[in-house]
Symmetry: C2
C-alpha cells in the first residue's frame, strides 16, 4: 500500500560551495522536483570533500529518511571522493565496474583517451546499481536508499529524470498561495487564529518586496487533503478581506 508520507534528505558535497565560490542551485531544483512527486525533503546539508564528513553525514541521514540524494564529487580528479566515501559508509568494497566502463567507452576511446583518471569515474561500490544520464557518459549510482549524482546541474538533472520513475512518491503535499497587500505584522495575529483552526495544515507567511515598491505578504497553506486545503485557503482569504476592509474603513 502506498504511504502518505515519504521523506528525503539532500547532501551537497563540495568545498567550492562552502567557500562561496560556487553558488549551489541543486538543492532548490531537487527540493522542487521531489515535492511535486510527493516526497518531503526534510533537510539538506552542504559538506566538504572530506571522507569522514561525508561518511558521518550519510550515516546521520540514511537511516532517518526514506531516500538520500547526494550531488558532487564523482568526477575524475583526486578531490572526487564521494564514491569511495559512500562505499565506506555502507561497509562495502569499491572497484572499477564493467558496466560503467562500457558506458564510458561509448564516448571515450576515440579522440579522447579513456585514461586512468577517467576510469576513476567507473569506480562503483559493490552492490550498487548504475544511474545513466543523457548528458554525460559517466554514471551515478544507487546503493540502498542513497542516490549518488553529479554536481554539474545539467548532469544532475538528467540523472534525477532517470531516478524519478524508480521512486515511490507519497501523497503530494499540495499548496495554495494567497498574496496580500498587507504587512506581515498586521496579518500575523489573525493568521495564527487560522492556523489554530486548521491544525492539520501548515501555514507559512513570507514578506515580499517588489522592485516596483509594492510589498506585502505571501501566505502559503499546505496540506495533503484537497478539501481541507480549500477550506483553509478560503479562511485565509476571508481573513485577508476582513483586514483589507478594516484598513479601508480606517
Amino acid at each position: 500500500m502506498a504511504r502518505d508520507v515519504v521523506t528525503a534528505a539532500i547532501l551537497v558535497i563540495g568545498d567550492e560551495i562552502l567557500s562561496g565560490r560556487t553558488r549551489d542551485v541543486n538543492v532548490g531544483y531537487i527540493a522542487d522536483y521531489l515535492t511535486r512527486m510527493g516526497i518531503d525533503v526534510r533537510e539538506a546539508r552542504m559538506i566538504p570533500d572530506v571522507e569522514g564528513e561525508i561518511v558521518d553525514a550519510l550515516d546521520a541521514v540514511r537511516e532517518r529518511y526514506d531516500y538520500v540524494f547526494t550531488t558532487g564529487g564523482i568526477g575524475p580528479t583526486h578531490d572526487d571522493i564521494t564514491a569511495d566515501s559512500v562505499a565506506r559508509a555502507f561497509g562495502v568494497a569499491i572497484s572499477v565496474n564493467d558496466e560503467a566502463v562500457a558506458m564510458l567507452k561509448e564516448r571515450y576511446g576515440g579522440d579522447t583517451e579513456l585514461n586512468e583518471a577517467r576510469l576513476r569515474m567507473a569506480r562503483i561500490p559493490h552492490g550498487a546499481s548504475l544511474v545513466r544520464n543523457k548528458v554525460s557518459s559517466a554514471p551515478g549510482f544507487r546503493i540502498g536508499n542513497v542516490f549518488v549524482m553529479a554536481g554539474v546541474p545539467k548532469i544532475m538533472q538528467a540523472m534525477l529524470d532517470e531516478i524519478a520513475p524508480t521512486l515511490e512518491g507519497g501523497r503530494p503535499l499540495r499548496s495554495r498561495t494567497v498574496a496580500v497587500d498587507l504587512k506581515e505584522g498586521d496579518v500575523a495575529g489573525p493568521l495564527r487564529a487560522v492556523q489554530e483552526r486548521f491544525p492539520e495544515t501548515m501555514i507559512g507567511s513570507y514578506p515580499f518586496f517588489e522592485d516596483t515598491g509594492r510589498f506585502g505578504t505571501r501566505i502559503v497553506v499546505r496540506a495533503r487533503d484537497e478539501a481541507l486545503l480549500e477550506e483553509a485557503e478560503a479562511a485565509v482569504k476571508a481573513m485577508a478581506d476582513d483586514l483589507a476592509g478594516a484598513g479601508d474603513a480606517a
Copy 2:
C-alpha cells in the same frame, strides 16, 4: 594570539527552502563573506520550522565550530520559532526585551501599530545581545557563539555587516584560479601529482561549459601561506602548459 583557523557553520531555517518554493541565496552570500574574513565555513544545513529539529541542529554544530550563523524564522508570525528554539537549545528563558521594544518603537507606533504579533519580534533569549541592522527595526541577536539573523536577504546582509567587526577572523585561506581549455579527465592525472607535491594546499577542479561552446576546467588552489600558494599555482600553470604543448604536438 590570533588563531590561524577559525570555523563556522550556517543553519538556514525555513520550510519554504525545503519545499523548493524559495531558493536560498543566503548560504552563498555568507560563505563568501566569511571566507574573505578568514573564517572557514565547514558545513551548512537547511532545516524546517520545527523546534526539535532546530535545537538538534544547533546542538550538533555550536560545540563543534567557532561560530554559528542562522537565517530565518525571526518574524512576527506563528511559524517564526527560531528565537524560542535557540533559547531552548541554550537552556535559558526568553521574554520580551526592553531594548528590542525600543528599537521597534522607533519605527512602529505611528501609522503602523506595534501590536502583539510585532512585539513577538522583541522576544529575545536571556543573556543574548541584540544585533541591529540598517534595513529593518527588528533586531537579530547573539547568544554564545550563535548569531541569529533574518531570512530576508537584504536584512540578513545588513545584520552581517553589524556582526562582522565583532568576529575574530583567522588567517585567510587565499585562492588562485587557473582556467584551462582542457577536459577535466585530461587534467586529472597530472593534477593529482601536483596535489601530492603540495600536500598543504587544497587543489580543486571544476569543469565549466560556457554558452559560447567553450569548455574547460577551472583549477582552484587554496592555501593560507602566500608563498606556498604562488609555488603551487606556478606548478599548476606549468602542468597546463605541458598538457597544451602535448596537445599541439599530437
